[in-house]
Each structure stands twice: as C-alpha cells, then as structure tokens.
C-alpha cells in the first residue's frame, strides 16, 4: 500500500485551492493509471511470493524479458509480428476505404457487396486460417491474409456507416451552393465520414493484432505468438508472460498512436 500512496501525492496538491468537484477533474489521469499499475504489480508480486498462485513473479518475468531483449529474440519476434500486422492492416484499410465509400454512396454497390461483407463479418478471421493454410501454404501469405481480412471488415463497415450517416442538410447545403455529386462526395461526404472511418481503423488495428498472435500460435516460425507456443512445450512460464505483456504493451501503444491521430484529424468535431 505504501507504493500506492506515493504517486497519489501529486493529485493531492490542487484540491486545496479549488473545490471537491474540480479536484476530481484535475487529478491527472496518468497518475491514476500509474497508481493502478503499481498496485497490480504489487498484488502480483505478493501473490506469487506467497505461492497463492503457481505462476512466475514480476522479477523472474522481468529478468527473462531483459534476457530475451538482450539476445535479440524479443525484438525479432515483435518485429515479425508487427510486420505482418502492418502489411495486412495497410492492405485491408486501403481496400476498405474505397469499398466502404462505394457501398455507402451507390445503392447498387451496397446491394451487391453487403451480403458478402455481412457474411464474412460473422466469421471470425481466425476460422479462415485452416482454409488459408491449405490454399496458401504455411508462409507469410495466409497470416497476412487473415489480418487483411480482419482489418478490412471492421474498416469497411465503418466507412460505409460513415457515408450513409452523413447529415443530409450538409449535402443540401453543398448542393445549393452549386456542388455536383463528385464535389459533394470529395468535399462533404469524405470529411464527414472520416471520424467513423478512424474509429473503424482503430477497431481494425485491434482486431489485426489479436489475429496475428493467434495466427502465429497455429503456424509460424517467428513472432510473439510463436514464441509463446514454443515456450508452452517447455513449461517456460516466464517466456509466456513476457510474450503476453509484450503483446499487450505493443497493442496499447498502437491504439494510443491511432487515437492521437484520430483526435488530430477530427479536432473540428464538437465533443461532449
């Protein structure tokens, strides 16, 4: 508990000046996050050293992480996983944007494409892996393909929803100023749908990351998922923990980066 109070000290300063209501607002969320993290690690350390649970403690996991980082395996694995994710995510999003906008803009395209999109949305990308491995071999292609599918499906639906959700008054405002379809699409629909698309991309990136790890669990010779699978065979729990934590941290960093980009690109939005 002593650990908890230390980072808590900071937020204690401002309330003296302002009221109770302001205090809860002025607590830096970062301090709260740090406190929660410290508490979590403390609980983990206490629970493992008291042998309440039979898993490695933070210290052994930490030293394994240092060792794996030192001999390069951690970086190599993370890089292998990240490369697959970025390739699949980039391809998926690149295709999702035109397809989603097309579906939102032209009822014909919507009618033709929607059954497929809705169908594949209900199939978890991971369920495609057996098929992908049989038809595409065990190389990089099937893994990138399922990630592509995961990213594509979440972004395409978001782009499509963004387009059909565009406020018709904005479209009318452009029309009465003399804008024709092409201008309305590029100058009104695309910017108005961007916030939706970015949310879809964030979900897509999360889905891609989840998919890559699972895909590596099934078939890979490199990557964070593979490393964990490999460690499982040797009851190497610290390595599994290192893998899990790396996956979580990398996923979180990617999400925060995209969130920051999203905030920047949609700063014009009125937020509540």
């Amino acid at each position: 508990m002593t650990v908890l109070t230390a980072p808590d000290k900071r937020p204690d300063k401002p309330p003296a000046a302002s009221g109770r209501r302001r205090r809860s607002r002025t607590v830096p969320p970062f301090a709260l996050n740090l406190a929660a993290l410290t508490l979590g690690i403390t609980v983990w350390a206490v629970a493992t050293s008291a042998h309440l649970v039979d898993v490695p403690g933070p210290l052994s996991v930490g030293s394994r992480a240092l060792q794996m980082a030192g001999d390069g395996t951690l970086g190599e694995d993370a890089l292998a996983s990240l490369r697959r994710v970025f390739l699949g995510f980039a391809l998926g999003t690149l295709l999702a944007v035109p397809v989603g906008f097309l579906m939102g803009w032209y009822p014909l395209a919507r009618g033709l494409l929607e059954p497929y999109v809705q169908f594949f949305r209900t199939v978890p990308p991971l369920a495609i892996i057996p098929l992908a491995i049989v038809t595409m071999g065990i190389g990089e292609t099937p893994k990138v393909f399922v990630i592509f599918l995961a990213a594509f499906l979440s972004s395409v639906v978001a782009a499509f929803q963004g387009v059909i959700g565009v406020d018709s008054t904005l479209v009318n405002a452009a029309r009465v100023l003399g804008a024709r379809d092409r201008v309305i699409f590029l100058k009104v629909v695309v910017p108005a749908a961007t916030p939706f698309l970015l949310v879809g991309m964030r979900i897509g990136l999360g889905a891609s990351w989840a998919t890559v790890v699972a895909a590596e669990l099934i078939a890979a010779d490199k990557g964070l998922g593979y490393e964990m699978m490999h460690a499982q065979t040797y009851y190497d729990l610290p390595t599994i923990f290192v893998g899990l934590i790396s996956i979580g941290v990398i996923g979180l960093v990617m999400d925060r980066l995209l969130l920051r980009a999203e905030r920047h690109l949609t700063a014009w939005q009125e937020r509540r």
Partner: protein, 284 residues
Amino acid sequence: MKPSLSKSDASDASAAPDGFDASAAKISFRGAGKTFPLKQGEFTALDEVSLDIADREFVTVVGPSGCGKSTLLNLAAGLAEPTTGQVLVDGAVVTGPGPERGVIFQQYALFPWLTVRGNVEFGLKLTSLSAAERRRKADHAIELVGLADFADALPKTLSGGMKQRCAIARAYAVDPDVLLMDEPFGALDALTRVQMQDQLLDTWTRERRTVLFVTHDVDEAVYLARRVVVMAARPGRVHRVIEVDLPYPRTEELRLSPEFARIRNEVWHAVYHQEPAGSVAPVT
C-alpha cells in the same frame, strides 16, 4: 430605402395560375403542389400554390406547423420537386438547386471541418475565380455579417447567432439573386433574433436581393417583409397575403409603432384564427 417596386408587382396570391406575366416575377409558383404517398392514399404537404414574388422583394411566409411553408421554400430551392404545377425563377422552370438561389437552413448546416472562411469559400471554389478573387469575395461577405475577427475560427467555437451569420455569409459569397431562408433565426434566443433581423435588413438594403423568408414568428414576419404570406395547414396552402405598408429602413420605433401593431394583429389573426379547411379536406 423605399421599396422600388410598384404595387402591381405584388399580384394577389389567390389569382389563377394562368395569366401571370412571368417576366415581372422573380419567383413564380404556378399551381405548385407537393404530395407524399402514404400507405393509404397520399398526404398533401402543399396544395397548388400560386404566388409571385417580385425582383428584390422581401417576402415572409408564416403559418402553423404542417402548413407546408418549408416545402414551399424547398420547391423554390430545387431541393424538392413539385408533384403538380411548377416553380419558375427568372421565367425558367426550377429543376434542381443552383448557386443563383442561396439557401439558409435553420440548422446552420456549416461544414464543421472548415473554418468560417473555408465555409464561405466553399461555393466560390466551385466557380472559376482565382484564389485571390475568391479570398476577396469571401472576406467581403464575412465583413458584411460582422465576422471578420472570426474568419479563421472553426464553427464549433461560434455561438448560434455567429454560426447563422457565417451561413448567411456563405450564401452571400456566391452572390445569389435570390435568398431562401428557412426559419433561419428559429433556434436563436429572442435578443439575438432581433439583432439578426436588423442585421439582415441592413445587409439587404445595402445589397438588395429577392428574399423568401420562412418563419413561425409573426413579429419577425411583419418586421422584415413587404408582404407576409400567411399559410394554412391540412392541406398546406396560402391562406392570405398581407401587405406591410411600412417604409424601410425599419427601426425599433417602427417595431413599437401603432401601425406595426395593427399589421401584426392582422397577421396574428390570420395565422391563429383560420377557419377550418372544410371543403378542401386532405385527399385520402
């Protein structure tokens, strides 16, 4: 400035659709009606309206909700198509929206990702004007509505009145002959509304345009217009057209004058004490 139009321009709205001199009217509704299909039968939003609006005239349309006043405006804007009759602007049948007819919406309809200047330049970018010329016109329109200090602000930072002024500047920028305003001040507080009315009249006197202004506020309708079109509901139709024989520029004294009160009462009565539609029941 006195209205430069002769009385004869303001033809009686109840006149037959035929026999209009199209050249005299800027906007001409000729038996224009709009029905929407329902599960059973149809709903008549607007029942064959015939109405002429002269060049540079300021006409307001007032009536209870459901009287089709917004439909009337949308027909002139080209955002809706009449199911009967037609709407002519400058003698040509309206087939769609166009930059010569500026529209101001109640919900402002500003592009939230563009600054005030970006919004005002939106219509100008669709023309062949050079960037410098565009900028000059946009700045002129922004100046006209008093938003010069906010030219680079995003709409989310503006108050309701400022947003609407920006929307008005956006419409002015492309220099339309006709201004169609759909309850533009409806969402503003009473004080801001009065200020906006004075400002609108001020800009209108400086740059005369034909204005068709829809409102549900009787005071506003009388204060702004040379003629008030009172509409009735079920089916939406023109009930009466009341001349406002008061000189421009209109001032606060005028707003409080007995003549104003007399016309206001007349319009009020026409709006709120309409005889039931009777023989013209909705088509079912």
